[in-house]
C-alpha cells in the first residue's frame, strides 16, 4: 500500500477512532451504564460524572504511561541486567564497564562543557538581541530573522555549519568561510590584535567575572546564617566558578602563547579541544532566537515606572539594565536557562551528523546511541541513558515543585 495513502488512512482511523472513542464511551456512560432517569437518576448522574474524567484521560494517560513512564523503569532494569546472559541480574556490572570506558569520561566532560557554555551563551546573546531589538522600529523583523534557525533541523544546521568549517587543500580556493578568514591572518599586528589580544582580554574579563561572582557567594555565606543545604548549593556553585575562572585564565594564557599555523588551511572539526566549541556554536545559533523571544517578552513586561524612577534618579543605561531590569526578569532567565539545558542534555543530531563523536567530541546522547545500536550493548547503553536521566532529574524535581506551588 502506498505510504501516503496509508498515512491518510491512519489519520482518518486515528482521529476518527479517538473522537469515536470519546463520543461512544460518553454515550455508553450516560445512556446504558448510569442513565440519567428512573428512580436513581440523581445517584446515576453523580456516578457518571465521577467516571467521565477518566474516560477523557484514559488514552493520554495510557500513552504517557507506556511511552514515557514505563521506559524509565524498563531502562533502569536493563541497566542492571545482561542481555547476553538471558537478562540475568548483574548488579552494577554495566555501570562498572561504562566508567572503565575512556569514551564515557570524554562524553561526560564534553557534556559538562556543553551544559556550561551553550545555555550561558544562548541566554546572553538572546538577552542582548532582545534588549537591542526592542529599541528600534524594525525590531520585530530583526527578531524573526534571528529566531529563524529555530525552524531548522539539527541535521540541516549541521550541513550549514559543515560548509562554514569546510577545508580545501592549500593550493585550492577555500570555500569554507572559516578557513577563508583564517588565511587572511599572517602573524602581523592585525593577527596579534584579533587572535591574541581580543580573545585574551575576553577570557581575562570572563575569569574576573567568575571570581567576582564567587566572591559575592562567599560573602553571602559569611554574612547570613543559612540552612546547610543552601550553603552546600553555594559551595558547589563556588567550586564551579573557581574551575571556570581557572580554565578561562589558562585559555587567556594560551591565547598569548599559542603558536598559530598561519597560512595553512585547518581541518577545524578534527582539532580536539576546539572542535567541541565549533559544534556548540551550532546549538547556540539555534537556541539564541528562543532565548531572545522569551526574554524580550519578559523585558516588555517590566513595569515602566520602575525604569522611569531609576532614570529620574540619574541611573545610566547600564545601571538601568543590570540593576533594574535584570533582577525583574531573573525568573524568566532561569526558565530559559533550564529549557536550553534540557535541549543540551539530549543533543544528539548535531554531533552525530558532524563528527559522530570522533576527535574527542563525544557527548552522552551519542555515546548511548553508539552503545545501543552499533555495539549492540544494551546494558551499557541503558546505563548511560540513566546517567542522562540523573542529570535531568534536578530540573524535573524543580519543575514539579514549581507546578505544585502554582496550583495551590
Amino acid at each position: 500500500m502506498n505510504p501516503a495513502f496509508q498515512g491518510l488512512l491512519t489519520i482518518i482511523i486515528g482521529v476518527g477512532g479517538c473522537i469515536g472513542y470519546f463520543y461512544f464511551s460518553n454515550q455508553f456512560l450516560d445512556k446504558v451504564l448510569y442513565p440519567a432517569k428512573g428512580p436513581k437518576a440523581g445517584h446515576n448522574i453523580n456516578r457518571a460524572n465521577q467516571i467521565r474524567p477518566w474516560l477523557f484521560l484514559f488514552p493520554a494517560m495510557f500513552a504517557l504511561g507506556l511511552y514515557l513512564a514505563y521506559p524509565v523503569f524498563a531502562t533502569l532494569w536493563y541497566s542492571v541486567t545482561d542481555r547476553d546472559q538471558g537478562g540475568a541480574f548483574v548488579g552494577l556490572a554495566n555501570y562498572a564497564q561504562m566508567v572503565d570506558d575512556p569514551k564515557f569520561w570524554e562524553a561526560l566532560k564534553n557534556n559538562m562543557l556543553w551544559l556550561l557554555i551553550v545555555p550561558a551563551a544562548s541566554t546572553a546573546f538572546g538577552l542582548l538581541a532582545a534588549q537591542l531589538t526592542d529599541r528600534i522600529w524594525w525590531g520585530s523583523f530583526a527578531k524573526s530573522l534571528i529566531f529563524m534557525p529555530m525552524a531548522i533541523s539539527f541535521v540541516g544546521a549541521a550541513v550549514i555549519f559543515k560548509l562554514i568549517y569546510d577545508t580545501r587543500p592549500v593550493d585550492q580556493a577555500q570555500i569554507g568561510v572559516m578557513n577563508a578568514v583564517w588565511l587572511q591572518f599572517e602573524g602581523g599586528v592585525g593577527s596579534f590584535l584579533i587572535l591574541r589580544l581580543l580573545p585574551g582580554l575576553l577570557m581575562l574579563s570572563g575569569a574576573a567575572a567568575a571570581i567576582y561572582v564567587a566572591y559575592l557567594q562567599i560573602t553571602a555565606i559569611r554574612e547570613k546564617a543559612q540552612a546547610s543545604l543552601m550553603i552546600m548549593v553555594r559551595g558547589v556553585f563556588i567550586a564551579v566558578l573557581v574551575w571556570v575562572a581557572y580554565s578561562t585564565l589558562m585559555l587567556a594564557f594560551g591565547a598569548f602563547t599559542m603558536v598559530f599555523p598561519y597560512g595553512v588551511p585547518q581541518q577545524w572539526l578534527t582539532i580536539p579541544g576546539w572542535n567541541s566549541f565549533l559544534l556548540m556554536i551550532v546549538l547556540i545559533w539555534i537556541q539564541t532566537g528562543f532565548a531572545m523571544v522569551i526574554l524580550s517578552a519578559a523585558l516588555r513586561g517590566i513595569p515602566e515606572e520602575t525604569i522611569e524612577a531609576a532614570i529620574v534618579d540619574g541611573a545610566n543605561p547600564f545601571q538601568v539594565f543590570f540593576k533594574i531590569k535584570m533582577p525583574q526578569i531573573s525568573g524568566t532567565i532561569v526558565v530559559v536557562w533550564t529549557t536550553i539545558t534540557l535541549v543540551v542534555l539530549k543533543v544528539f543530531d548535531i554531533v552525530f551528523a558532524m563528527t559522530n563523536g570522533q576527535w574527542e567530541t563525544q557527548v552522552l546522547a551519542n555515546f548511548m546511541y553508539d552503545k545501543l545500536f552499533r555495539a549492540n550493548d544494551w546494558g551499557v547503553g541503558s546505563a548511560s541513558a540513566m546517567v542522562i536521566m540523573l542529570l535531568v532529574s534536578p530540573i524535573l524535581v524543580w519543575n514539579v515543585y514549581n507546578a505544585r506551588k502554582e496550583m495551590r
Binding site: G7, Y67, P71, A129, A142, S153, V320, L345
Partner: protein, 382 residues
C-alpha cells in the same frame, strides 16, 4: 518600549548598526547554504559562495571547439570560430594566453601566432577566430584567460535532487516519507491531548493535582530512555519498524507538552461560559466540542507547529522506530546524514538536499510565527 528618556541619536545609531550586524551574523550561514544550492559543482569549488554574488575575476582554462566538422574554408584559410565560454555568457576577458605558463600574453582582440601557419584571435567577450593555412586537426586549441564573470546561478541541482536524480541522491521519496510521518504524528496527539487537557482543567476528580504534576515531570524525561524498551515492545507486539511505530512514538513523546500547553490555556478560559452551558444542560462532551475546542484554537495551533517542526526535523526517533534495513522508509534528515557520509565533498547535492529539507519548516515558521511565539511564551513564562 524604550526606557531611554534622554537617549541621544548617536546611541540609536549604534543600536541600529549592532542589530544589523547581529542579524547578518545569524543569517549568514543559512544564506550560504541557499546560495550554494544554486551553484554548479565547479562554481562551488572554484571560489567561496560569498564571492559568487559579485562579478569575480578568475583565471580560467578554456578550449575552442574541436576542428572536426566545425572548420570552414573561408578566403583560403581553414577557420573555426565561436565563443570559448559557449553561447550566452557575459564573461569579460582582460588578458589571455595560449600557454599555461604565460596566461597574460595577449589583450582582448590581439592575435596569437601558434606557429605552422595557425593563429587565433580572442575578443573581449570570448568570441574567437582560429585559422590555419592547412587543415586543422586534433582537439580544440587551449586558451587561458583572466576573465571577469558575472554572478551565475542554476536550478539544475534542484532538478537533480528532486526530479531525475539517481536513487541515492533523490530526496523526493524521502520528502514524501517525511510528510507521511509528520502529518499523523502531529494530528493524533492533538486530539488525545485536547480531551485530557479539558479533563485536567475543568473536571473535578481525586488525583487531578498528582496527574498534572506527573505531566510536568514527564515533560523533561529524555526520550533516549524510551528507545530500547519501546523498540522491544514494538517488535514484541508485531508492529516492528514502520510508520505505525513512529506515529505512536511521536504521539507518546509529544503528549506531555501538548497536555501542558493546552491545559494552561484552557484553565484561562472564562468560567462563566462553561457554567452557563452546564446550566443549560450541555454535557461535558458538548461543552468540549462546541465551546472549548473553538476557543482553544490559538493553543492548538501553537502546539501543532511545535509538533510539526519537531517531527519534521527529527532524526533519532525515525532512525530507531522507522528506518529498517531496506531503507525504503528513509526520511529527509536521515537521507542528508547519509549524503554527508557518501557525498561529503559534493556540496551542490548536499546544500540542495538540506535546503529542500529545511524549506518546509521555514515556510511554516514564517507563516505561523505568531502562534509559535505565543506557544513558547505560554510554555515558559507565567
Amino acid at each position: 518600549m524604550d526606557g531611554m528618556v534622554g537617549s541621544k541619536s548617536s546611541l540609536t545609531w549604534i543600536v541600529n548598526i549592532s542589530v544589523v550586524l547581529l542579524v547578518a551574523l545569524w543569517l549568514f550561514p543559512t544564506v550560504g547554504l541557499l546560495v550554494s544550492s544554486f551553484r554548479t559543482a565547479d562554481q562551488i569549488s572554484s571560489n567561496g559562495w560569498w564571492q559568487s554574488l559579485f562579478p569575480t575575476e578568475q583565471n580560467v582554462s578554456l578550449r575552442t571547439d574541436d576542428p572536426d566538422g566545425a572548420q570552414e574554408l573561408i578566403d583560403g584559410l581553414y577557420t573555426v570560430s565561436g565563443n570559448v565560454f559557449g553561447d550566452g555568457s557575459e564573461a569579460v576577458i582582460s588578458v589571455w594566453g595560449v600557454s599555461s605558463r604565460a596566461i597574460d600574453s595577449f589583450g582582448p582582440g590581439d592575435t596569437a601566432d601558434l606557429g605552422e601557419g595557425e593563429s587565433i584571435t580572442v575578443q573581449i567577450d570570448g568570441s574567437y577566430v582560429w585559422t590555419g593555412t592547412s587543415e586543422l586537426s586534433g582537439r580544440g586549441q587551449r586558451v587561458f584567460a583572466t576573465a571577469e564573470t558575472p554572478p551565475e546561478f542554476t536550478t539544475g541541482n534542484y532538478r537533480t535532487v528532486l526530479v531525475d536524480g539517481n536513487t541515492t541522491d533523490s530526496m523526493s521519496k524521502a520528502f514524501f516519507n517525511t510528510l507521511t510521518v509528520t502529518i499523523p504524528a502531529t494530528i493524533i496527539p492533538i486530539v488525545i491531548a485536547a480531551f485530557a487537557a479539558y479533563a485536567l482543567a475543568w473536571m473535578d476528580f481525586p488525583g487531578r493535582a498528582i496527574l498534572i504534576a506527573l505531566v510536568v515531570g514527564l515533560l523533561v524525561v529524555p526520550l533516549q530512555l524510551a528507545l530500547i524498551p519501546l523498540l522491544r515492545l514494538h517488535l514484541g507486539i508485531g508492529i516492528g519498524k514502520g510508520y505505525l511505530g513512529v506515529w505512536l512514538a511521536h504521539t507518546g513523546f509529544g503528549l506531555p507538552l501538548a497536555i501542558y500547553l493546552l491545559r494552561n490555556y484552557m484553565v484561562g478560559l472564562p468560567r462563566d461560559i462553561i457554567e452557563n452551558a452546564k446550566v443549560d444542560g450541555a454535557t461535558d462532551f458538548q461543552i468540549f466540542t462546541k465551546i472549548i475546542l473553538p476557543l482553544s484554537f490559538p493553543a492548538l495551533a501553537s502546539f501543532a507547529i511545535f509538533q510539526f517542526l519537531w517531527t519534521w526535523n527529527d532524526l533519532l526517533v525515525a532512525k530507531v522506530f522507522l528506518i529498517d534495513a531496506t531503507g525504503q522508509t528513509t526520511v529527509m534528515t536521515n537521507q542528508i546524514v547519509e549524503l554527508l557520509g557518501t557525498r561529503g565533498g559534493n556540496w551542490e547535492i548536499l546544500a540542495t538536499a538540506a535546503f529542500v529539507s529545511i524549506s518546509v519548516p521555514l515556510v511554516v515558521f514564517f507563516a505561523m510565527q505568531k502562534y509559535l511565539v505565543r506557544g513558547l511564551l505560554a510554555g515558559s513564562v507565567k
